[in-house]
Amino acid sequence: MWEQIRDNQVRTVILVTALGFMLILPGSLLGQTVLGDWSVGLLLALLIWVVMTLVGYFQGDSILLSISKAHKIGPDDMPRIYNVVEEMKIACGMEKMPDIYIIDDPAMNAFATGRDKNRASLAVTSGLLQKLNRDELQGVVGHEMAHIKNRDVLLMAMCSILLGAIVMLAWCGSRILFFGGVTRRSSSGGGNGQLIILLPAVALMIFAPIMAQFIYLAISRKREYLADASSALYTRYPEGLASALEKVGASTEQLKSANNATAPMYILNPFRRKNQVAEDLTSTHPPVSERIRILRAMAGNTSLSGYEAAYKNLHQGGGSIIPGSALLAEGSSPHAQVEGQASPHVEGVDEVRTRARETHDALWKLSNYQMIACQCGVKLKIPPGYKGAFLQCPHCGTVHSVVPD
């Protein structure tokens, strides 16, 4: 597992450099064609990038979480989700528990955020908590913790900032070239010499953002597969995540508060359309059906090499999906079999309802609702804005007194 992180860090450096070239090259060319001095262009490009990185680094978490309207919960607020996260923390060997947030939204989704392992956060929607059983929830939590552990959050954040800087630069560049630079070029003469620099500059302005976008998306998808594999490794029960993905994939409710900046961080692309087929090159996440198939094909070998084998099996001719160094670290012996799985508990109607109530009640309590249990079995939940000293139970007529805020 250490290997994975080191590998991730090396990749981050390589990627940043590669994307950085996408920034430096256009910047320099722009400087050369417009101002006759490429070094100024380069400096400006770097400046843009540095500023955006600093802003992103220091603001990161709070922007994301406040966009999504999340409440933080403690161990007593919702013991089940807290325990599930704690179990995964132990299974993957993390030192500190991440902060846990619940997003009040019926759509099912989850995400992880945070710069390093000691300051990480994990958020799940109330819809997810209601509709998944414990094993499925654990699969999802395992996937998100894997993102934290593999420093994917850091990786993708840096990439998206770079991407943003590239796009911005290209936009500025194209404006200048077409509306400012070109006219000045022709008036000061120079003809062919200028064209030699102008054409590639224009080409770069157009293609750099597109190429950078594709690279970014490809990286994002690879990290998703890795997170799925890691989740199976931690839980030793890939069916949990597979079943959860099925449920989440089937739901068509759009997550209300997602926007383009936060989309890659979610477990499922919040902007997917039902039956979207052309997802391969244009999405931050691999297709759900694909992920489910690979997980189910693991058939008892829940190591990373097991995931790799399942992937290769289903993708004749496709490249490998698990970084080579991670496979090496595992060693050659196939890992422990899926441990003692008694047949998964099939949920009854009552359990589904109880689960939904647990989740809702936690949210009511966090929003300062008063809970009153009437003797007839009805439970009344009173919002903080309620004016009145008494409330009559609508089912049996008993009067209850309401505590003022």
Partner: protein
């Protein structure tokens, strides 16, 4: 949840592990789609889905009642008549977020129950019975209780 008619916060009434949002001022009830699923078929939610689609597909009712906004998405809701023998007009969200029963309707449901004549033939009846039965003692708090005196 805010009452679409009175714009004040509604209380939540949980019975048999299913929640209804009720307004103590106008006796209106919001039945959320998620809760309807829990009532009718928690394991798949498809029965509730079908019921909602059927009701959404009904033609708009001819009425002069003011159109209300869905408490979840704030879009204007459609008025439909789901009554079989007599008129029974409810508001349904065009995105299928749930149903709103105004005070006239909830009073009718309660009256039906107390007269011993609830219908029980299909899923829709089941839903209506649940609402009526939960509110059988009435929701509007009498003035004397609310102000704690007189």
């Amino acid at each position: 949840m805010i009452c679409p008619a009175c714009k004040i916060p509604m209380i939540v009434v949980e019975r048999n592990k299913v929640e209804l949002d009720c307004c103590t001022s106008c006796q209106g009830v919001w039945f959320d789609k998620g809760e309807l699923e829990l009532l009718l078929d928690p394991l798949t939610g498809s029965i509730a889905g079908t019921l909602i689609e059927n009701i959404m597909g009904l033609p708009p009712a001819e009425t002069t009642e003011k159109r209300l906004a869905c408490p979840i998405c704030r879009q204007k809701m459609k008025k439909v008549d789901i009554g079989k023998t007599s008129g029974f007009i409810i508001d349904v969200c065009n995105s299928g977020h749930g149903f709103w029963f105004g005070e006239g309707e909830t009073s009718k449901l309660i009256a039906q129950l107390l007269n011993g004549k609830p219908e029980d033939k299909d899923i829709q009846d089941k839903m209506l019975f649940f609402v009526g039965d939960t509110l059988r003692a009435g929701l509007i708090n009498r003035e004397s209780i609310n102000t704690g005196g007189d």
